[in-house]
């Protein structure tokens, strides 16, 4: 009986001592990747919100560009309006593949569009705080 208790106890201790390593590392890796994707997504949206100004001779922020008609990102490259990003790139950084969910909201005065770059609610990184981007209309 005593031998059983000691052997079981040591086996449980050995398992328990490895638990933090097994449990925390994959989650830490996922959280790091999701955070990296969220920022990449923000950068992608910033890039897509600009247009080439011929007078200035450079890319400038375009307030007329409707990145999120009806609150949903437009990723079709054939459309004249919307985000000029192909679906693969958007999917990689800004959608479920990258554990990201993007939602656009308008503020009360409708002079600004606020984009929330949150984390996939079905994944283990859902507890991370979202990123916010604000654009003038």
């Amino acid at each position: 009986m005593i031998v059983t208790i000691v052997v079981l106890g040591i086996a449980m201790a050995a398992l328990a001592s490895f638990y933090p390593l097994l449990a925390q590392l994959p989650d830490a890796e996922k959280a790091e990747r999701a955070a990296r994707n969220a920022e990449s997504c923000a950068e992608l949206i910033i890039a897509a919100s600009r247009h080439y100004d011929e007078d200035e001779g450079r890319l400038l922020f375009d307030p007329q560009k409707d990145l999120f008609p009806m609150g949903v990102p437009l990723v079709n490259p054939d459309e004249d309006d919307g985000i000029y990003v192909d679906k693969d790139l958007w999917g990689y950084f800004c959608a479920e593949d990258g554990m990201i969910e993007v939602v656009a909201m308008e503020d009360e005065g409708e002079e600004k569009v606020i984009i929330e770059i949150g984390y996939d609610s079905a994944s283990t990184v859902s507890g991370l705080d979202p990123l916010y981007l604000g654009f003038d209309r």
Binding site: T4, L8, M12, A14, Q24, E29, E32, E43, L44, D86
Partner: protein, 148 residues
Amino acid sequence: MRARVLRAMTHNTGVKRMSRQRGLTLWELIIVLVLAGIVAVMAAQPFSALFNVSITLEDELDAKADIAYAVQRIRQEVRRMDGDPCNGAINGTDDGIELETRDGPVFLYIGEETKIKTCEPRGPDGFYEIVIEVDGKSYDFGVTRRVL
């Protein structure tokens, strides 16, 4: 007669032995598990120290923090770069990344052999996808150059 008595004795002994070989009761099992749990709690800390679990975890998280810092710093520099960042401005080395910034070269120490696997413009103008490889693992990220 003698043989019959002997056979009977053997048979009886066998019956007695069979009845003694019973299993554990639920209470005995619970007591064993509780005591084993207490032993496990007492032994977990020395085991953890023995296998350097917390040190390994800390090392891994430190390495991740170094890479996260390097990614942030690359982003920061690429945003304000005048030229194409993929034109030799970011280079992997034996133990980190060399960056050609506006203010001169900057070295980001990672502690592992680092390669720039991919650096290319993708999607909208000014957006670059960069993939760095550290110790066989790839870390990809996007950044938009603000000055164009």
